[in-house]
Symmetry: C2
Subunit: 802 residues, 2 copies
């Protein structure tokens, strides 16, 4: 029986995309200002598209290479379908399109926000947030649309659109993992490449412009200023969008995988109004509902007074955000009650099968929503203006750059305490409520507000850009003041958005990790085995080295930028007087090329390490694929633990330095004396901010991708390692085992075990013969009767002939 | 049969201590220079003793508190002896005495080195290295003496000096763990407190002296300069000494624990010329041999030319070092061949019992020696003058402090790559050779050269101090030049010494980790269990937060110092002209108080977290102590992985910044231009160095203690969690199991299982009754017959009556 419910998420996704188009045309209809503004905006737009174009070119090669690798996997592993390649390509394309939509709208909204800020702050907020909404809905809509459509397609192809058994569904979901892998691969390019781009331009522009030439930020005389503004879009809009697109898809996928195992735990089939796949559909349904809820949330983001300050704008965003979260909680309650069997059976690791109420899945989703909210408040505490950690950094700036740096580093490091404890409790609690399905559902619920989160997040760089355009086109100071209010709020939302992104990445990774263990059918990951422990160490190291590579990349790219700007200052006559025109496009070009070149090494590290571990593992333990699977699992755990730590550390240290520097703009009290911009303490704070730039915008956010992509690659490789195990899994309830035992006259016994399994609809027969004395053969048969294959088999026949 | 071999390590330790006394009196007999020099040296000596006195006072309270806690453990856990308290106290006292010896000799040697440098560089090296040798032999001698003496004592008390069984030996070693815990607790105070002290003084002295007042380092007008020189001794001498004392003891202990399990794997008893405890004595024998080998190594450290440069001095140290390592390899070969049975049986996790040649234990020790050597070269590459990473940081200094900082951070981070891969391969290889006994023996072999390592290491701060005294007492420039050569080499040896210390801490932690798993008798640590995974995250976070606390402590203490120095500059008339006398002791006092106050929080974090995990775990899972044991194991693994990473990162980043700054002294080429001290680039490098100071001397080295102490606390707590398991363990080969089964006329069967075990010589009898149909009872009995208790039991009787 097919349920209409399977189509629900697609319908909601399409509704979301339609609303996105409406909003988009509304934004585009707004006044784009005068000639000078348009010109600058066009520069940014063209620069952004140039980056996208260069990125897509590189991506094409990557996608082709990865597709060949996937074809290799599909050839080697019987249970992997070639369709995974199609899913992978479309996943990559969808993610790229979502990034493209976001980048285009953001680079069109910026100038319109500037124009609106000439007359009205509420309208400027409306437009900039409108641009963010388009971005958010584009990402969420395409994610749900793509994932659901492919699920339905594979469900019909592999299972005829009807529930057969867990094994077939595993094949469906394994193939669907290709879509997720495609999305996350693009995220790697967008997040890491974009992160390098934005900071190379920013640091380069600041070092020569602000520090050496002494001209303000966004000054049109600075050749790197357009690249800097392009960078805001490339990194903060497209990078963040691709990151959350990847998280969204991976989380829902992992929840579906674990939902499938719930059905298995409940006897291999359930009867419900949803074609017997309620637990699998539930995460998709929540994701779909989240889109509509996010739209409702965006309606609430508005201010009325033209004299509003940061607090009012922040409040408007908070109301929208908290309403969405509350509505998602309500939706989860409704959908869980409706779609899940009232009581469910679930295998708890080491505790056996337990009967639990479906309400406990709802509680798990609440855990996810709490994590999403709490992590934002933690982030705000450690990076918010006027909060104790920031005041401390400001204080430490009075004794120079060194103490400012130490204080910033310490703030970032200490901020891991509360966040990691929160994660630990969340893992523990959501697992206690509903096993690893609970963990994945917690992540799904948190991710349901993705569209809203992205709208809030993308609004920041748009406002930042709007301020830049106001500066460069030399508008009245009031315009810049208004965009500065939006920008300042945007800085806070950028920090909290990063908190959300890392929380989502962490929970997604855990869900994928759980899915990995079930896919490979290992008994767990035992770090007391030396090779597994060794891989835990290696996994812990990778995020650190990855961060170093990303940071050095920024340094190298920024150096190139510095030299180019210095050259232009020297060679272009009249540039400092405003009569000579800087060559903006040369700087854009340097950022584009450098970022794409520099991201290769971290990219190779991310993708290469799991593959090397598996290859070396198989080489050393050709007979023990399960140990190799455990080693890869140890590696995944190492990457996740260390990656989460380094993400929080780097994001929060960077955010704290940034706002410590910003504190000087309004003036701060140090040792009883008011201190302002231009003071020595402020200069020290600027140094800290420059160090923090690659932390918070390049290496920190890249951790998300590293964690998720590592676990996803593991999931896609799983069938190779689970070769034997998959076969055992296939035995489940659809295989037959025959044991014929005969005892010869010489008292030598012989037992023949025939195992008939059905793989992809084909019959696979394997035979095993045991010979020996009667006692020996019987002992071996007892051992076999305790094996998984035997215990899981549907039909068991034993014939004994003397 | 008792073997004389058991006394061998004690004899060697005493020989080492005697040689130490001879060397000490030789050093003390050297000329201590003129009045001014003596006066400064006395200031340093008095300051150092003031710190030790304050530290010991605090320690007394700690030791009393910890003893009470241990008494609590001994009361609750039947298998824990009260003697553990004595062992703990003596361990603490021995470690403190070792630190005291080192500190006293170092603060006496410094001025003698200055005096010698007036006439001869070879003699200056001779004296400063002689001081280091006294320190090294004091630490190693006391460690081996204490550990061996307690082992013999407990061996006689619990086992009558004769092998009985593994369980009794486990009690001996569990009690011996108290000695190790005492040593490591002192290390916490010495390393963390000392680290805060030295950097608070250094940063404070530099910030006001060098940066604000523009006077050179070690200028006698700077009130903080004595505190700075005291700090070198407190941190680099006493801290390092206590750290390696702790590692030495813990490594040997862990190897003994695992040696005990080898005997168990070999059938519970072996016959050899060493009273049947060869595998347990071996690590002690290697440690004892290492003392004599180190003495031989120190003979080789000398130069002949008065015009020698850094390279010759470094070569002299290298010859001594490499000779010691080679001799230890030879000693390991001899001792392994002599003391171990030619073929041994060893349980390999998941692979069952395997027969291996004892040669494979020798190979494992070689792995340890290679790790010790390789880690030093890696460290030298990333922190050495003239190497690529340093040149890169120098280059990046030209664009300001921010790029210098980014480059330094990136260098530290990327340096984790090779070191962690080395550890991973070492874990894998030494385990593959000889199981976890192999891992522990690798660590033991590496630690055998501790005395030599410490001599090389302690020589650095002595030379640094000698230079300071030369500066403060206004000697001829040639004196400072000579001490600078020694100091410069000392900086390199300090960095490589830190590499050695973290490698030793990592291997020690692994060995303790393995001992922990065997003590608790869990089947491993499965991170797929959500609570265990949650604790892995928490464990990963602790080193980061610990580092942050340590760094902030330096910042806070340095601020107090800055204000005091500023006050003195302002209030003491004629201080800048050299007519007014600075109040050195006030600065010493600030450093002392601040460091001891500030180390409390990190200390509480280290000790408190494992205890909280166990308490909360038992509260949540009162019935499942094994799960709690796994959770604590997950925490230990998290701390180890993350701690090793942060140690390498921080040590190497700090070392790299330091030498990047130093590069400017001889002049560096940046963009084709020679750049020197006083340039903007140099100023940027000074900022980097200041950031690196707490990294490399406070938080980085503290990681060693954090890792080891965490695993040691786990080991001491283990018997609480292993309550049930210990009982099972006790069943091993000395318990009896009787099964009486009877079948009534109504076909209802009843089985009575009587289990008689011997705990601490007392008989403990437990009974279990199974009732049901014949099939049910038989099924349950089959299950029982697969239980550990049954399989391990010596006598099994089954009686069936109908």
């Amino acid at each position: 029986m097919e349920s209409y419910m399977i189509w629900m998420p697609i319908v909601l996704a399409i509704l979301g995309l339609i609303y996105m188009l409406i909003k988009r045309s509304w934004v585009m209809k707004q006044d784009a200002g005068d000639g000078k503004m348009k010109e600058i905006s066009d520069h940014i737009y063209v620069g952004a598209l140039a980056f996208l174009k260069a990125e897509y070119k590189l991506l094409t090669f990557f996608v082709i290479g990865a597709s060949i690798a996937l074809a290799g996997v599909a050839t080697v592993v019987e249970s992997t379908s070639y369709l995974i390649i199609i899913a992978f390509i479309i996943g990559a394309v969808f993610s790229a399109v979502a990034g493209n939509i976001g980048m285009r709208i953001a680079t069109k909204t910026n100038v319109r926000t500037t124009q609106a800020a000439k007359t009205s702050l509420p309208k400027a907020l409306n437009i900039s947030f409108g641009g963010g909404t388009v971005m958010g809905l584009g990402v969420a809509g395409l994610a749900v649309l793509g994932l659901t459509a492919f699920f339905i397609l594979f469900y019909k192809m592999f299972m005829g659109g009807e529930w057969t058994n867990t094994t077939d569904m595993t094949l469906v979901l394994e193939t669907l993992a290709g879509f997720s892998l495609g999305a996350e691969s693009i995220a790697l390019f967008a997040r890491v490449g974009g992160g390098i781009y934005t900071k190379a331009a920013d640091v380069g522009a600041d070092l020569v412009g602000k520090v050496e030439a002494g001209i303000p930020e966004d000054d049109p005389r600075n050749p790197a200023t357009i690249a800097d503004n392009v960078g805001d879009n490339v990194g903060d809009v497209a990078g963040m969008g691709a990151d959350l697109f990847g998280s969204y898809v991976a989380t829902v996928l992992a929840a579906m995988v674990l939902g499938n195992y719930i059905i298995k735990d409940m006897g291999g089939a359930i009867t419900d109004a949803f074609g017997g796949i309620g637990p699998i559909l539930l995460p998709m349904a929540i994701a779909g509902a989240g889109i509509i809820i996010s739209i409702i949330g965006t309606f609430l983001v508005k201010i009325s007074s033209n004299d509003a300050k940061e607090a009012q704008v922040q409040k408007a965003l908070n109301i929208g955000n908290w309403t969405s979260i509350a509505l998602v909680a309500a939706a989860c309650f409704g959908l869980v009650t409706w779609m899940l069997p009232e009581t469910m059976k679930m295998e708890f690791f080491g505790e056996g099968l337990q009967e639990i109420s479906s309400m406990r899945v709802f509680y798990a989703t609440l855990v996810g929503l709490v994590v999403g909210g709490a992590i934002s408040s933690f982030t705000e505490y450690y990076t918010g203006l006027g909060k104790k950690p920031i005041l401390n950094i400001v204080q430490q700036s009075s004794t120079g750059a060194a103490t400012n740096i130490i204080a910033g580093l310490a703030t970032g490091m200490i901020s891991t305490f509360s966040s990691v404890l929160l994660f630990a409790v969340a893992i523990w609690a959501s697992y206690a409520f509903a096993g690893f399905y609970g963990v994945a559902m917690a992540a799904s619920a948190m991710m349901a507000t993705t569209a809203m989160q992205l709208a809030i997040d993308a609004f920041g760089p748009i406002a930042d850009n709007a301020g830049g355009i106001a500066e460069m086109s030399e508008q009245e100071p009031i315009v810049r003041e208004r965009t500065d209010i939006l920008d300042s709020v945007g800085n806070t939302t950028a920090a909290t958005g990063k908190g959300f992104a890392i929380a989502s990445a962490a929970l997604t990774a855990l869900a994928l990790f759980a899915a990995y263990v079930t896919f490979t059918d290992i008994d767990g990951i035992n770090i007391f085995k030396a090779p597994v422990l060794a891989m835990l160490f290696v996994g812990g190291m990778v995020p650190v080295v990855f961060s170093a590579l990303a940071m050095s990349s920024v340094g190298k790219a920024a150096m190139e930028m510095v030299e180019e700007v210095r050259r232009q200052f020297k060679e272009i006559p009249g540039i400092m007087e405003g009569t000579g025109k800087p060559e903006y496009d040369k700087c854009v070009d340097i950022s584009t090329k450098a970022s794409l070149k520099q991201m290769l090494l971290p990219g190779i590290l991310t993708i290469g390490f799991p593959i090397v571990i598996v290859l070396v593992g198989i080489l050393i333990y050709p007979e023990n694929h399960k140990l190799v699977a455990e080693m890869l699992g140890g590696y995944m755990a190492g990457v996740s633990v260390s990656g989460v730590l380094w993400a929080i550390f780097q994001n929060n240290a960077g955010g704290a330095w940034d706002n410590a520097k910003k504190s000087f703009e309004a003036g701060v009290e140090i040792n009883g004396e008011m201190t302002y911009k231009g003071s020595d303490a402020h200069k020290a704070a600027v140094t800290g901010d420059t160090v923090g730039d690659p932390f918070k915008d390049t290496s920190g956010p890249s951790m998300n991708i590293l964690i998720k992509l590592t676990c996803l690659i593991g999931l896609v490789i799983a069938p190779i390692l689970g070769g034997h195990s998959i076969e055992e899994g296939l035995a489940n309830r659809q295989s037959e085992i025959n044991i014929e035992m005969s005892v010869g006259s010489d008292d030598i016994a012989m037992a023949k075990i025939t195992h008939t399994a059905f793989v992809k609809g084909k019959e696979v027969v394997s035979e095993k013969i045991i010979k020996g004395t009667i006692e020996e053969v019987e002992a071996k048969l007892v051992a076999f009767e305790n094996s998984k294959a035997y215990l899981k088999s549907k039909v068991k026949k034993v014939e004994i002939t003397k």
